[in-house]
């Protein structure tokens, strides 16, 4: 995403994105540490296992807030378009990989990779759209 600092909506988005990214790292470290050293069980284990995902949900919420707060409708359109390319691309990659897994016994694609794939594809789409609308 273009980080032009004179756009308050983008500034707030970058701030929220950074906070959720930091929380993701902290929650992941905490969860890994807890499962390796403390072997939690019951509801605590569920909460710890889900913690990193909560930060990712927060990241999605941050993007949703950006789309709502952005006053420049063209920038909103760019954000939505890149997200749609990201969603479509992720569906293509995962469904193709799923069939390859079933028929060719390829290595299992871990579901936690779905979000990074979506982010990477959305980022690429955003970059290409930036080039198109230079």
């Amino acid at each position: 995403m273009n980080c032009s600092t004179n756009n308050p909506a983008k500034r707030r988005y970058m701030w929220r994105f950074s906070v959720t990214m930091l929380l993701y790292v902290l929650f992941l470290v905490l969860a890994v540490w807890a499962f390796v050293h403390r072997h939690p069980t019951g509801p605590l284990a569920w909460v710890l296992a889900v913690l990193p995902a909560l930060a990712i949900i927060g990241q999605m919420a941050a993007f949703g807030l950006y789309l709502r707060e952005e006053k420049d409708e063209f920038q909103v359109a760019l954000g939505v378009q890149s997200m749609l390319w990201g969603i479509g691309g992720t569906l293509v990659v995962t469904v193709v990989w799923g069939f390859l897994e079933n028929f060719l016994r390829l290595r299992h694609l871990d579901l936690i990779l779905v979000y990074p794939i979506f982010c990477a594809l959305s980022g690429i789409a955003y970059g290409l759209l930036q080039l198109r609308y230079r």
């Binding site: 006053k71 409708e73 609308y133």
Partner: protein, 64 residues
């Protein structure tokens, strides 16, 4: 959608950045509208019309 933004801008000697500042959007947005790659919403079209003291139909035309 065709438009006369470039002409209207030139008449006032405004750059794309000047117009963007007046519309409170990015220069990239002005460029996308001006080159017909992006059609503005009605509120933005009205804002443009008010800024250039004209009507929306004077700025935009649906002729291909």
């Amino acid at each position: 959608m065709k438009n006369r933004l470039r002409v209207l801008r030139a008449e006032r000697d405004w750059s794309q950045a000047d117009l963007a500042q007046r519309l409170e959007v990015s220069r990239q947005s002005v460029n996308a509208i001006e080159t017909g790659k992006f059609d503005p919403s009605l509120p933005l079209a009205f804002k443009l019309a008010r800024l250039f003291e004209t009507t929306i139909e004077t700025i935009f035309s649906d002729e291909v």
